[in-house]
């Protein structure tokens, strides 16, 4: 079978490249093209302006915290869903994908209502001195919601694939359950955990819809970069919006490449399983 007898390669690839160029590449090229109207110095001034830097700090800071929360609770959730049985488990498993299915605007107004001073949750937090809605904490809540499935869904198949023999060997050799987890299981699932974390982080950085309702959107305090792009656009500062969008695009692309590299390594490590340490 040296030759591939199947038809349609030129048509399939040609259509793919044409459609990819029209819908994705050409529009993204317009972004780069437009930003070329700026000199490097002008670009730098916009990207490092006080309000832009503050928005980047808010965006990356809250995305990082949300992704860390999801790394911890996502690991716990994936573990519980794979290893334990409890009533309603299939329902809970299906519910994990809710943030993928629920439109972000719906998530935004609902979380804002829940965590506002008179909301179901905010009502109990505010007397304790915790304000969530309309503060940076609200941004973390929204980002935690929308990026919740990534870590769980990346870890579940990896935990399912762990051979019980490895854990049994550790136990026979005298390891406590916690030692087994820390020294045997955690190293095995760490690449997947990092991949899920990066996916969640990368999704959270670009998020707009769910955040704007709960953030309060105060410049320098709770204004995220995507909102600042929209604000500039509404003031017809198209060049300013473009410069910030280029910054976001470069960061997203770097994260996408990082995820691809991680997944490639995971796939390779999978075939050489057990070779670690």
């Amino acid at each position: 079978m040296a030759r591939n007898v199947l038809p349609g390669f030129r048509l399939g690839l040609g259509y793919t490249l044409l459609y990819l160029s029209l819908i994705v590449l050409l529009p993204l090229a317009a972004l780069v093209f437009k930003s070329a109207e700026l000199s490097a110095a002008q670009f730098w001034d916009i990207a490092t302006g006080e309000r832009a830097l503050a928005s980047l700090r808010v965006t990356f800071g809250s995305a990082l915290i949300a992704a860390l929360i999801n790394a911890a609770f996502g690991l716990l959730t994936a573990w519980v869903l794979v290893r334990y049985t409890f009533p309603g488990k299939r329902f809970v498993d299906a519910l994990v994908d809710l943030p993928f299915a629920l439109p972000t605007a719906v998530a935004g107004i609902t979380l804002a209502t829940l965590y506002a001073g008179n909301g179901w949750i905010g009502r109990h937090l505010e007397p304790l001195g915790f304000k969530v809605a309309f503060t940076p904490v609200g941004i973390v809540v929204a980002l935690t919601f929308i990026s919740l499935p990534f870590v769980v869904r990346t870890l579940q198949p990896v935990i399912e694939d762990i051979e019980p023999e490895i854990e049994e060997a550790a136990a026979v050799l005298g390891a406590s359950r916690w030692q087994t987890f820390r020294l045997v299981l955690l190293p095995a699932i760490l690449p997947a955990l990092i991949t899920g974390f990066t996916l969640a982080f990368s999704r959270a950085i670009g998020e707009y819809g769910s955040v704007i309702f709960i953030a309060g959107n105060m410049p320098f305090i709770s204004e995220i970069t995507p909102l600042l792009i929209v604000a500039k656009l509404e003031q017809y500062d198209i060049v300013g919006a473009t410069a910030l969008a280029v910054v976001m695009l470069v960061i997203s692309f770097a994260l996408l490449l990082a995820v691809n590299a991680l997944q490639w390594r995971m796939a390779n490590r999978h075939s050489a399983a057990g070779a670690r340490r």
Binding site: L6, G12, L31, E207, G209, P226, A245
Partner: protein, 294 residues
């Protein structure tokens, strides 16, 4: 062989505590918001809820949302099948770069996705002067909303189909062709029946995103009531006008869509798992690895 395996199970109290903590976390972050949408929507009673949905602006927003999905999904399905066919059935240079580029829209912020179309077709955009000279509106009109939706839902179908078709291998299609089937006969009678569940899965996910997209659509829509307002944008407008019941009534339609999506997705996952199990049972243990190497 059935030696007892207590050694790799956590103590009962640990299992109980971990399960409880996970469920409390999911309860606060997932179940409570879902319940809250419907409670808020019905807060003023069922008549007020139905009135909010009967509002002409809500109706036209629902219709526009459905229309945009009906245009965007078939285009992305055609692309997904073509891309998966080229990538899963043929070897060519730059394949992994192509796969990365297909994933790109997932990594781009929705706001940036909307902005790029404003830069192309907006009044100050690259084609802006030409478009206004020919009296064609794309931005602040339905074509812009469709383009933004196409962008954000771009990878869904292709991403689902590429690994599926790679796993299935090309023997069946080669058999069809060598028995004299034309390319289109092979596509309709062999390829599509084999990938129907994966295709449906991709469509379900793409549809949820298409109907629910907010950021990208918000940038290109212009929020013209009754004309370029999709349902998520309608939710935003009502919410910002402090029309809590109206906003949550519209939101509840989208939340119902999310529930239908989750149910459909779970059913399709179940079907796919069953078919994979059947496929694996029909192959010899090492059969899957023996793809015809050139």
């Amino acid at each position: 062989m059935s030696s007892p395996r207590p050694s790799i199970a956590e103590p009962r109290w640990v299992r109980f505590t971990l399960t409880a903590v996970a469920l409390v976390f999911l309860g606060f972050f997932l179940a409570l918001p879902l319940v809250a949408v419907f409670v808020e929507a019905l807060a003023a009673g069922i008549p007020a809820y139905l009135d909010a949905l009967a509002d002409p602006e809500a109706r036209s927003a629902i219709w526009l949302t459905v229309l945009v999905a009906l245009i965007a999904l078939p285009l992305n399905v055609a692309f997904g099948v073509a891309a998966a066919w080229a990538i899963a059935r043929f070897e060519f240079r730059g394949k992994s770069a192509l796969i990365t580029l297909i994933d790109l829209p997932f990594a781009v912020s929705p706001v940036v996705a909307g902005l790029v179309f404003v830069l192309l077709f907006g009044s100050q955009g690259l084609f802006g002067a030409w478009l206004s000279a020919h009296d064609i509106r794309i931005i602040f009109a339905v074509p812009g909303i469709v383009l933004a939706t196409l962008f954000v839902t771009f990878p869904f179908v292709a991403r689902e189909l590429i690994p599926l078709m790679q796993a299935q291998g090309r023997e069946e299609e080669e058999a069809a062709v060598s028995l004299g089937a034309s390319g289109w006969q092979m596509l309709w009678r062999v390829t599509l029946p084999n990938i129907k569940w994966g295709l449906l899965y991709g469509v379900i996910l793409a549809n949820a995103r298409a109907m629910g997209e907010f950021g990208a659509v918000s940038v290109v829509s212009g929020h013209i009531r009754g004309e370029t307002n999709t349902l998520p944008l309608h939710v935003e407008i009502l919410y910002n006008e402090y029309n809590q019941v109206g906003a949550f009534a519209a939101a509840s339609v989208l939340a119902l869509l999310a529930l239908v999506t989750l149910i459909a997705k779970t059913i399709v996952e179940w079907r796919m798992r069953r078919e994979t199990a059947m496929l694996e049972a029909s192959l010899s243990p090492e059969g899957g690895a023996a793809s015809p190497a050139a």
